[in-house]
Amino acid sequence: MEPVIELRKVSKRFGGRTVLRELDLCVPPRSVFGFLGNNGAGKSTTIRLITGLLQADGGQVLVGGRDLRSHRIEILREIGCIVEAPALYPNLTAPEFLRIGCAIKRLPRREIGRVLELVKLADAGKTRIAHFSLGMKQRLALAHALLGQPRLLVLDEPTNGLDPHGILDMRTLLRALPEAGDCTVFVSSHQLDEVEKMATHVALLRDGVLASQGRVDALTALQAGVLDMEIGDAGHAAAVLAAHDYEVRLLGQRRLEVYRVERTQLDVVHAALVHAGVRLFQSTYRQPTLEQWFLRATAGATPETPCS
């Protein structure tokens, strides 16, 4: 299937500083795509390029298979976005604010009620935005982005300022969008646990270069995990595993942890112990989290993963 967003060798410089270097990125349709990277990695610049706020110095930005330079208006009609902090007018009320997007996208007024319901702001009524909490502002910005049921939602840190209920609502809503219709969600975030719970795909940007990209489960599965074992003789087991070049830590006479074990090697580890006559009571494999993957990858430890 044709990617919803495709960046081909995109470069961007600000003055003498190169922010993005020949960035290739492809976002599959109907996915929730988490876009990760440290501060200054180039996430916001990428989002600005995708939403047409900036123009690339080199390369091509394609949205829905169309070049953003030549089809900007057409593409923006199908995009909803929040770029950085919510941009709102404090002197207006929520329905008044939504009239702006409604009028420009030529949508019927009933759309305002629909999106306010979706983000649970229907009762905000006549309160001016100046009196909104940060979470309410975030939800209103999302409501604006959802106007007209866009085919692509580009959201920069959408859970910022939300309380746990708000985060849960946002996660549920964003996860449901690709399932409910022809919508792809592109989310940049620092909250890795949120991305892990929400995203189907992730990409990692490191110093303006794509470090890794793929399905969340596939990427984390590539990383070695920790095997926590309860056994008859931990000292003997440690010696056996050390002989097989595994990193081991004793946690007691009957308990140890084996580090950097890939899922595919689990049978090898267990077989080695059984053959050495070690009695095995319990074995638990802990899959690395997205956070662990992120920390390793941003430290430069992860090899590049092809776009899938």
């Binding site: 047409g52 009609r77 008044e96 009239r99 009028a103």
Partner: protein, 246 residues
């Protein structure tokens, strides 16, 4: 799309400062003009040319001082509304072109100036009735052609509106546009009464409304129209090329 944007820009003025200033600035001019007048002795009111002087005083106070400041202020506020709230990011990710947006905002800024001119006319007229009620004044309160004079002022300030709007659009910090507005107001005092006024767009409104000769008033109109046309083309083209501070 331009009309939709213009309507939205107008809509965004709800409960905002530019709307309040549209009344406050003319009010200050009328309060100052009428206040100073009411302090004079009765002999000043009995003069046959009293009413012509009354209207010209208000027009001069407006064109000399308040109008250039008001234009700088209103354009800075209209664009500042986007800079301050980061709303360029919102507007420029909607299906509109920067040029359409620039033009809609320019039209709204000019609309505000026209509104302020109207407010000046209404408030000065109200104050004239007050003066007539308090002092022995001669007849012919409305013999002076106020409406055409105000219309000329509103037309000839268009180049200044475009200059101030382009500056406020480009720079997020309102200090530069305001400094230009204040500096230019000072400049009117020097250049407005010299032969070089033709090179200084801030003088056009003063000359169109208060110029002593008919030719001067007409020249101000022609110059303003020409300069406005050139500025409109250039600033709109620039708005599409350059990058707003988003």
């Amino acid at each position: 799309m331009f009309l939709i944007l213009l309507r939205l820009e107008l809509f965004k003025l709800r409960r905002s400062l530019p709307l309040l200033l549209m009344l406050a600035c003319p009010f200050l001019v009328v309060a100052l003009g009428t206040g100073v007048l009411l302090k004079s002795g009765n002999a000043a009111f009995a003069r046959p040319g009293f009413w012509a002087g009354y209207w010209q005083t208000h027009l001069a106070l407006w064109s000399y001082f308040m109008l250039p400041l008001y234009i700088a202020l209103v354009t800075a506020l209209l664009n500042g509304n986007e800079h301050r709230n980061g709303a360029w990011r919102l507007l420029l990710t909607l299906p509109v072109t920067p040029r359409q947006l620039f033009l809609a905002k320019a039209a709204l800024a000019w609309g505000c100036v026209i509104g302020a001119n109207l407010a000046l006319g209404v408030l000065a007229s109200g104050a004239a009735f007050l003066v007539a009620a308090l002092r022995p004044v001669p007849a012919g309160m409305f013999a002076f052609a106020l409406a055409p004079a105000l219309a000329k002022v509103a037309l000839t300030c268009l180049p200044v509106v475009l200059i101030q709007h382009a500056l406020s659009w480009r720079y997020a910090n309102f200090v530069l546009p305001l400094a230009v507005g204040i500096g230019a107001t000072m400049g009117i005092v020097q250049l407005g009464s010299s032969e070089y006024w033709v090179f200084f767009p801030w003088s056009y409104s003063l000359m169109a409304g208060n110029g002593s000769a008919q030719e001067t008033r007409q020249l101000a109109l022609v110059l303003a129209a020409g300069v406005a046309l050139v500025l409109l083309g250039w600033t709109t083209w620039r708005a599409g090329k350059g990058q707003v501070a988003v």
